[in-house]
Symmetry: C2
DNA sequence: TTGAAAGCGCTAACAA
DNA sequence: TTGTTAGCGCTTTCAA
């Protein structure tokens, strides 16, 4: 900055004014400084500035997700990035892999870099360790799962309603022996989805003894093997509600292996790429990760703009997409 | 830091020593300082430190990709993040959408935040504007596409060989009238893939008049319509080589519409999720984005560790995956 | 083993 | 409209 000032023949503060588009710089001076910046290929150091700047803002936010390799997280990330870009904010991202210790170290890495706000999908059971940041007023928006141990803004999918929607759809087509496939039971969303499933069974007067609930499925393989086991029962389910992506794929594979993909109904929670190109097409309850990211970013920036209204939980609705697999009637 | 020093009854420099795990701190002092840090919930400001630190390292790198919502980019990102995490580096990401102006502004945003290195998929035709950074010694690794206008390290997919592999596979099954479907012709990779396609035609002695080359397909819709047009020709192609993901999906849709998915062979460049669950399964030349990200990050960190050996271009091989669609023989 | 003082690149406050 | 000075939180240098 000193070099630029010297080159332009002005004081260092004038360069600062130009960089920050502050008023009270004459057109001629502005031109000279701009030229000097271009000539010297100068990029101001945003962090040196934020050190002294009021509030110490860095125009940087942090995003924590399950894994950036996961398309669901990718869509959230992209929506957050789009909102951030509009305001000249940069985005740090970190993958947590459902590992509580990674959550803590990633948050710490962000705090050491003085992010202005954080959007996070939690991986640990309690966020009480973030209490000092909440009290300090660091904006935080939880996505996909609410915080535990602290009160914050949140943006969630309507898991209960989505699961109920899927369940009712199957019940309406005459199914009673429906299987629920869930992933790790300590993940908040799966509990919600099971709740929606059970609620709708109750509404229809179906006893939980008629249904099968399998939980803690870890991946495609365990899901596929669970489905094979279920369908070998004396009184096998006529429909399956799979509460997560990879589990749905496992279920599809198992049904194919048994050549039952046109006899047993299947509805998955969360959409799959090319689900409409399979035979039958896979009916799903579709989430809207892009809307989640968008709402979370808007909420975060509203807080950064000084919104100190009451905490808000935004619920993003789901959409049922019928493609064939969910419309199969119970076997005669 | 001053608060921590006061709380622990030591000088500020001693706190600095503890934070940076420097030697010459007695066990008793270390314990007191550690306790003070915990009590005060202190997180050091990494940027204030880098201001004075030799070399000014921030333990931060920047990653530029097409779009973080794209699974190919997501896999690269995840691999980069994994390498970065091992070393306590944070990762900034930005999506470019093939927009040259976004490339420049995103790079500038990273430079203003003093990243220690950059990994980028270029979107603009020339990177000559980065010459000052190259000369300054800022480590940069280009992924997926080489830089133009500057010399840097790069990690690329073996596009020519991959395309040749796919083409040879079709030729070996008796096809001669093969269609090549390409996306925007100004994207470097598609040119390479066309080159591999043409090379293999030459080896087999097939005239380019026998094949159809369609380029500048923008998305699924334009690809699908191009395929429908091709198959309505008097002498339609018996096989299709699609050089990109979305275009492959468009081709699949078009073949379905025409009910030709079991009569016209199809090989795509880049793998698709659930491609094995379609009927027929989609044969592809699979890239390895995770290996690309891994190699790029390793190269970047090697440079940060002081490796000043000659510039290196790492080529990541492709794999052919036969699933059915590529093994369909020419219609009689 | 420890700490005091200077200074990294910038902005706030204030003076000219 | 412009510039000067102090100081943000840390590391470097050097002295105790």
């Amino acid at each position: 900055m000193r070099d630029v000032a010297r080159y332009a023949g002005v004081g260092i503060k004038t360069v600062s004014r130009v960089i920050n588009s502050e008023p009270n710089v004459s057109a001629a001076t502005l031109a000279r400084v701009t030229e000097a910046i271009a000539q010297l290929n100068y990029e101001p150091d945003i962090h040196a500035g934020s050190l002294r700047r009021r509030g110490g803002v860095t125009r940087t936010i942090g995003l924590l997700v399950g894994s950036v390799a996961n398309p669901f997280a990718g869509s959230i990330h992209r929506a957050v990035e789009d909102r951030a870009l509009e305001r000249g904010f940069a985005v740090f991202t970190s993958s947590l892999d459902e590992d509580p210790s990674r959550e803590r170290s990633a948050v710490s890495a962000f705090l050491r870099r003085r992010v202005d706000g954080v959007i996070l999908t939690r991986a640990s059971p309690s966020q009480a360790y973030l209490l000092p940041e909440v009290q300090r007023g660091l904006p935080m928006v939880f996505v996909d799962r609410p915080a535990t141990g602290i009160e914050t803004d949140a943006v969630l999918t309507d898991n209960i309603d989505g699961a109920a929607l899927a369940t009712r759809h199957l019940i309406d087509r005459g199914h009673r022996r429906i299987a629920f496939l869930g992933d790790r039971a300590d993940i908040w969303t799966v509990g919600q989805r099971r709740e929606g499933f059970l609620r709708e069974l109750g509404v229809a007067g179906i006893s939980t003894r008629e249904v099968s609930i399998v939980e803690n499925l870890e991946d495609e393989l365990t899901a596929a093997s669970a489905v094979r086991d279920l369908l070998r029962l004396d009184d096998p389910p006529t429909a399956i509600f799979s509460s997560q992506n990879l589990i749905t794929i496992g279920a599809i594979r198992a049904l194919r292996t048994l050549e039952l993909q046109r006899r047993v109904a299947l509805v998955g929670f969360d959409d799959l790429p090319m689900a409409d190109l399979l035979e039958p097409g896979i009916s799903v309850v579709s989430q809207n990760p892009s809307a989640i990211g968008d709402a979370a970013a808007r909420q975060l920036f509203a807080r950064l703009d000084g919104d100190d209204g009451p905490l808000r939980t935004t619920v993003i609705p789901t959409t049922f997409i019928a493609r064939g697999s969910g419309e199969i009637p119970p076997a005669a």
